[in-house]
């Protein structure tokens, strides 16, 4: 038997490290090792116990469970750990997925190259270097239909080919690991859980375009990812997989890690290059495109982590196998980071062509509370929301684009009826306005003005014509902004107006927030018929706004009330009314 503890950032945040120490203290004979993100983030910390091929998965494990686990290892008696064993229902979260990019995540030890190699690691690279010309590699990728997973969905082979065709001895292959979307964490998971998969994909890409230098631009907020990537690079270097004359061929490639200082806009490829060169992260004008003039003005190719994570699999299994999954225009699988009001949150990788319902209800298990599903925000702040009645939309670049949202990098924030859509748009606008680099007028001032309008509306200060003005501004920013950040910033506003215009109107005309989320537009009162005078609300009120004698109906002084909602949540008789 052997014990494997999920130690991605998610697991560590939930207490996996403490569980590991506690288990180590138990002097168990079975070896204890780690793995990356298993994917079921909502169940962390997770302890997997392998008995040959049989797996017993324990979830939501705490330090105090260590003796029981030790007991099980020694005796095989499952009784004491039965409450920890993952349910069949929860197991479906993984079993219903099709994992390519994440194929090794949560299975192998990311800190040991041998475990990667044992999973056919670096065979794809070897076959490329020894059996295929760069053009043939590009052909396989072309056949696979792989498209950029960072958001834009541009065909990967096309970019590789453009960089390959670009003149110049010195070329760069860059991996964009600046995953900045709030709610997206698939890139982090890949680097933390399977760094060699990324390195192998990048080396294949470097070979294809003719680059001798590979750069990973990873955000500094991912220290564990950086640590594991560094470790992986060292191990690969020791094995001669990176450096000069890889696998004894003419191909040489060096690696560099650049920790980005944390700006969303640096996920935009030209801003990323500026930052790499040591400048302020601001996008450059295109053309020239990076394939012609990129890092140090040399031909450069930039792909996202998840894109590279598919490459080795495609080489090993053939482009056709990848293309066999998905739809006409979108091939292979896509990883989604599912969060929000959904029952099961975590990383979900499924073939293109499935529906949003498959992800949110079938795999995600539906809503966490009894409130009905309202909408899902796709693609983070650059994306848009898709309402409940479009839940059967197919996962496909075109189909998602038609709704006004985007595939994006795969962030999926699930919302129920308690989410105010104006507030949601405001949240994302607040993010993009702050993350605007400040270069172009439309983005720098336009997003700020949109945010100010949304703030006014949620405060009940909206006026007739605000929606139209917002729309006018949105379209103008989409048209006029310099880079993708600005051009997509209006999407959350445009889609919420498109699908939830009545909510905007309620805020503006009736000064009401239908979801009851905008504190300036709600009022708490007590229904005297239901109130039993238990005094619980009065005792919990932080500003003493509630008065009343014991066993007598209580009253909220609305002038004093700060609308914290505490009374509403503590009342056991549904006597507090939020309206």
């Amino acid at each position: 038997m052997r014990i494997v503890i999920g130690q991605g950032s998610c697991g560590i945040a939930a207490g996996a490290e403490k569980v590991r120490s506690a288990l180590l203290k138990q002097n168990i004979s079975a070896p204890i090792s780690i793995t990356g993100c298993i994917g079921m983030c909502y169940l962390e910390p997770i302890v997997d116990i392998y008995d040959d091929d049989k797996l017993v998965r324990l979830v939501k494990v705490s330090e105090s469970d260590a003796p029981a686990i030790a007991d099980y290892i020694r005796t095989g008696d499952r009784e004491k750990i039965s409450a920890l064993i993952v349910t069949d229902e929860d197991s479906e979260f993984l079993s219903k997925q099709t994992r390519i990019a994440l194929r090794n995540c949560g299975i192998i030890n990311p800190e040991k190259i041998e475990e990667y190699i044992a999973k056919d690691g670096y065979t794809a690279l070897r076959s490329c270097l020894t059996e295929k010309t760069p053009e043939e590699v590009i052909d396989v990728i072309k056949t696979s239909g792989l498209a950029g997973r960072g958001g834009a969905g541009f065909p990967t082979w096309f970019k590789w080919n453009a960089a390959r065709q670009s003149e110049g001895e010195e070329k760069y292959l860059i991996c964009n690991a600046d995953e900045g979307d709030p709610g997206a964490f698939m890139d982090r998971a890949v680097i933390e859980s399977d760094p060699h998969n990324l390195i192998e994909g990048m080396l294949i890409g470097a070979y294809a375009i003719g680059a001798k230098h590979a750069v990973v631009y990873v955000r500094a907020e991912y220290p564990l990812a950086i640590k594991r990537l560094k470790n992986a690079l060292e191990q690969a270097r020791e094995k001669g997989i990176i450096g000069n004359n890889i696998f004894g061929t003419d191909f040489s490639c060096d690696f560099m890690i650049k920790a980005g200082a944390g700006a969303f806009v640096c996920g935009e490829e030209t801003a990323l290059i500026e930052s790499l060169e040591g400048h302020r992260g601001m996008p450059r004008l295109k053309p020239p495109f990076p394939a012609q003039s990129g890092f140090w003005r040399k031909p450069s190719n930039i792909n996202n982590v998840e894109t590279f994570a598919n490459v080795a699999w495609i080489i090993n299994n053939g482009g056709e196998a990848f293309a066999a999954m998905g739809t006409e225009g979108s091939k292979g699988t896509k990883v989604f980071a599912v969060t929000g009001k959904v029952k099961r949150s975590g990383l979900v990788e499924i073939p293109m062509g499935k529906t949003l319902r498959d992800v949110i209800f079938d795999i995600g298990g539906g809503m966490k509370t009894d409130k009905p599903f309202k909408a899902v925000q796709m693609g983070g702040p650059s994306g848009g929301c898709i309402p409940a009645d479009l839940i059967d939309t197919v996962i496909d670049y075109k189909a998602l684009g038609a709704t006004g949202a985007i595939m994006g990098s795969g962030g999926m924030v699930v919302m129920d009826e308690s989410t105010c859509m104006v507030g949601m748009a405001k949240f994302f606008l607040d993010f993009t306005a702050k993350e605007s680099c400040g270069k172009c007028i439309h983005c720098r001032i336009g997003t700020k003005r949109m945010l100010e309008m949304l703030e006014r509306i949620t405060k009940g200060e909206g006026k007739e014509g605000d929606i139209e003005l917002l729309e006018e501004l949105c379209y103008s920013i989409k048209d006029g902004a310099l880079c993708g950040l600005g051009q997509t910033a209006p999407n959350p506003v445009l889609t919420t107006i498109k699908y939830f215009r009545d909510e905007y109107e309620a805020h503006i005309k009736d000064k009401k927030c239908p979801a009851g989320e905008c504190s300036d537009l709600i009022e708490y009162t007590i229904n005297a018929d239901k109130c039993r005078g238990c005094t619980l609300c009065a005792r919990n009120c932080p500003v003493n706004a509630i008065t009343g004698a014991v066993k007598q109906p209580h009253v909220i002084d609305t002038d004093k009330c700060i609308k914290c909602g505490k009374c509403y949540s503590v009342c056991r008789f549904d006597a507090v009314i939020k309206a």
Binding site: A263, R280, M282, R284, L285, P287, A433, K434, E435, S436, C437, G438, K439, C440, I441, H442, R444, I445, G446, T447, K448, R449, E452, L469, E472, L473, S476, D479, G480, A481, L482
Partner: protein
């Protein structure tokens, strides 16, 4: 060469050229704010966007290359909308005044800040010329104007407004005292004739400017002398007629023909003048005193305000006796009461139904009249003038109190039931307004107020080719500067008419700061200086001019108090130029202003971040051209700003004062100090000259104003890298 089409025009462009280069080479202007050939393409402003057939996105023409067969539209609706919104957003965050509030509040748009600033520098001739661009009678107007400019002056928020009107009189006096007073250059004769009826401030102003424009102008006036109400409505002690005479003489010398003692309706008609001229301007004024409709107004001893003043000025004052009351609270009432004092009346009352605070008259006038012995009867209203044998004996006054504010915002006077007062009087002067004598202009259509109906923009009347301005039109009598402003605009409208065109009356957009956000705490208090006046007990016995005018020292000190609200880069602001090209309304996007006004300067360069539009030209030129890196971009998003490294003051950076950043700054965020004690926004002209720097002929830009070198700015690599101070550069000028 590449063949393409821009705005329907077939164009050839060299291989590799951008759409912007191709367009500009062919005379098609595309606006830009962040583009300059000196630095790399940046793409921030997004104003250069164009639409190309077959390309779904708008293209930034500064970077997009021409391709064979390309069809480009630089002014499509989508392009214009994108530029318009960009400018609206930009201006919504631009915290600056293009022109000062004093100028904006002057009905004639006189460049007050300009001439005040020039006076502070001792540049009196230049100040006078600037004034005469808008006012041909500055010595007179400086003395009599109720100065709306001063009401808008922001110095009032520190202590008191600048004494703008008296400064104007000061500069004008100097010019009048010279043998060669300033005469404008007139344009070549147009061969067109214009007749103007009425030689008051409106008529004379229109005549002066139309003459400068090359037209032959004759002014017809019914009185013995020109000047209208300036002469016959304003007492000698306020405006000595010798001053007015001199100013009118200059107008005559400029080429205006003056004809007196001829009256409309008697000696000629509008139609008869029209037959002999290409255009006629009616500026007959309002010469009839208004009635109060109080019983007893027909008694002997009751006079109209302007009738009374005119009679005194003409040398035959009426018998007013010893006890005189003046009804009204405006400047005519002040003129009448102070004149009555000077005529020897023992008790002079001013009857006004509100209080001192609501009086429309100038505060100084109110105070000076009181010093001269005038007695104010506030909160009283005449209900009857009582007489015996047809002669006035007394007035019965209703006592009033202030009630709720009325539409004008002033508290409305309401009678106190049953409370009255009677004052024995020898005469009463009704100074409550004046009206047009309608019979004189019977040929023209009048409005419901009984004034000539004139188009407010084009000044046209019911007869083609006949224009009307001043007190006789629309809303009736107002102040002289109002008439002068109308006359100036009317002259332009008539000039356009004579050239077969129509004047463009659109008011171009300008940027204004939100008054409520301005902080004055860094300003040191400095009291307003008023010119010395004759002592009250001397002046109340004669008609000598009360004000002694500014001494040079006083004038310079007073002018130096100016806060310099208007932007010094106004005349060459690219930002404003682009803003005015599009019909923009930045108030749609009113919101937070990103940068607070921060002032930073070194010996030559001043920085004001609140006007910065983040085009990056300063940062980029400092880095790319000069390799100095004295300034950089700081912060993110809306809070991005340009700042010296570590937010240090500019003079603690490596800045070598090359001035390139100032030259490239498209707005007033960076300015180069002029060779002046007090900085002034001026319409400067730059010429390229060459100076010897270590044996090399180096290019510099030189700005001269009124003969004086205001700036010398390095203009090539040699002069920029010479590290010479501006004084040293100037000394090298031939």
């Amino acid at each position: 060469m590449i063949n393409l089409t821009i705005n329907g025009k077939a164009i050839q462009a060299p291989e590799g050229s951008t759409i912007l280069e191709a367009a500009r080479a062919n005379g098609i202007d595309i606006p830009t704010l962040c583009y300059d050939k000196a630095v790399e393409i940046y793409g921030a402003c997004g104003l250069c966007v164009v639409e190309a057939e077959g390309i779904p996105k708008l293209l930034r023409s500064c970077s997009a290359k021409c391709t064979e067969g390309m069809v480009v539209n630089t002014e499509s609706d989508r392009v214009v909308q994108s530029r318009k919104i960009a400018m609206e957003l930009l201006m919504s965050a631009h915290d600056g005044d293009c022109v000062a509030p004093c100028q904006l509040n002057c009905p004639a748009r006189t460049d007050c800040q300009g001439y005040v600033g020039l006076i502070a520098n001792g540049e009196y001739d230049a100040a006078l010329k600037l004034i005469k661009n808008k006012i041909p009678l500055p010595a007179s107007i400086g003395r009599v104007c109720p100065h709306p400019c001063e009401k808008a002056c922001r110095r009032k928020n520190v202590e008191e407004p600048i004494n703008i009107a008296q400064l104007k009189a000061f500069a004008a006096n100097i010019d009048l005292d010279k043998d060669d007073s300033y005469l404008p250059e007139c344009q070549e004769s147009s061969g067109k004739k214009v007749a103007i009826i009425g030689g008051g401030p409106a008529g004379l102003t229109a005549a002066y400017y139309l003459t400068i424009m090359g037209h032959e102008v004759t002014v017809y006036d019914m009185m013995e002398k020109m000047g209208g109400m300036l002469r016959y409505g304003i007492p000698q002690y306020r405006l000595p007629k010798e001053v007015l005479d001199k100013e009118i003489a200059i107008i005559e010398k400029a080429g205006v023909k003056l004809v007196n003692n001829v009256k409309l309706g008697k000696d000629f008609t509008i139609e008869s003048l029209k037959a002999e001229n290409d255009a006629v301007i009616v500026a007959v004024g309002a010469w009839k005193s208004s009635s109060m409709r109080t019983p007893g107004e027909d008694l002997e001893g009751v006079y109209g305000g302007i009738d009374f003043l005119r009679a005194v000025i003409k040398g035959n004052p009426p018998e007013i006796g010893e006890r005189v009351a003046i009804c009204g609270g405006g400047n005519t009432a002040m003129d009448a009461c102070r004149t009555a004092v000077r005529l020897g009346a023992k008790e002079v009352y001013v009857i006004y139904r509100r209080t001192r605070n609501e009086m429309p008259a100038d505060k100084l006038e109110i105070d000076e009249a009181e010093e001269e012995g005038v007695i104010y009867k506030f909160l009283t209203n005449p209900i009857s003038f009582n007489g015996e044998d047809g002669k006035l004996k007394s007035v019965t006054l209703q006592i009033m109190e202030l009630g709720e504010p009325d539409a004008s915002g002033r508290r409305k006077p309401v009678p106190v039931e049953g409370k009255t007062e009677e004052i024995a009087l020898d005469s009463v002067i009704l100074a409550i307004g004046q009206k047009l004598v309608q019979g004189d202009v019977s040929e023209l259509k009048l409005n419901e107020r009984g004034n000539i109906e004139a188009d407010p923009d084009f000044f046209t009347t019911s007869i083609d080719g006949v224009f009307a301005i001043g007190d006789a039109t629309n809303r009736g009598a107002s102040i002289a500067i109002e008439a002068i402003g109308e006359a100036d605009r009317c002259a332009k409208a008539v000039d356009a008419y004579l050239n077969g065109q129509k004047l463009d009356t659109r008011v171009p957009y300008i940027s204004k700061r939100d008054e409520s956000t301005i902080d004055y705490s860094d300003r040191k208090e400095q009291s307003r200086i008023n010119p010395k006046v004759l002592p009250a007990d001397v002046r109340n016995k004669n008609f000598d001019e009360v004000s002694l005018g500014f001494t040079e020292e006083e004038a310079q000190a007073e002018a130096s108090r100016c806060l310099e609200c208007g932007c010094r880069e106004y005349y060459k602001c690219k930002l404003l130029n682009v803003a005015q090209r599009y019909d923009i309304d930045p108030s749609r996007f009113k919101g937070e202003i990103p940068q607070k006004y921060t002032h930073d300067e070194n010996a030559f360069i001043e920085r004001n971040t609140s006007k910065c539009i983040l085009c990056g030209l300063c940062v980029r030129s400092c880095r790319e051209v000069m390799d100095i890196h004295a300034i950089g971009l700081m912060g993110r998003g809306f809070k991005t700003d340009v700042s010296p490294a570590f937010s240090l003051p500019l003079d603690q950076t490596k800045c070598n004062n090359c001035g390139l950043c100032v030259q490239l700054c498209p707005t007033g965020s960076l300015t180069e100090k002029a060779n002046l004690k007090k900085q002034v926004p001026l319409d400067e002209q730059y010429t390229e000259e060459f100076v010897d720097i270590n044996g090399t002929q180096a290019s510099v830009l030189v700005s001269r104003y009124n003969g004086k070198v205001l700036r010398v700015i390095p203009n090539d690599e040699v002069s920029r890298n010479a590290n010479l101070s501006r004084e040293e550069l100037q000394a090298k000028l031939q």
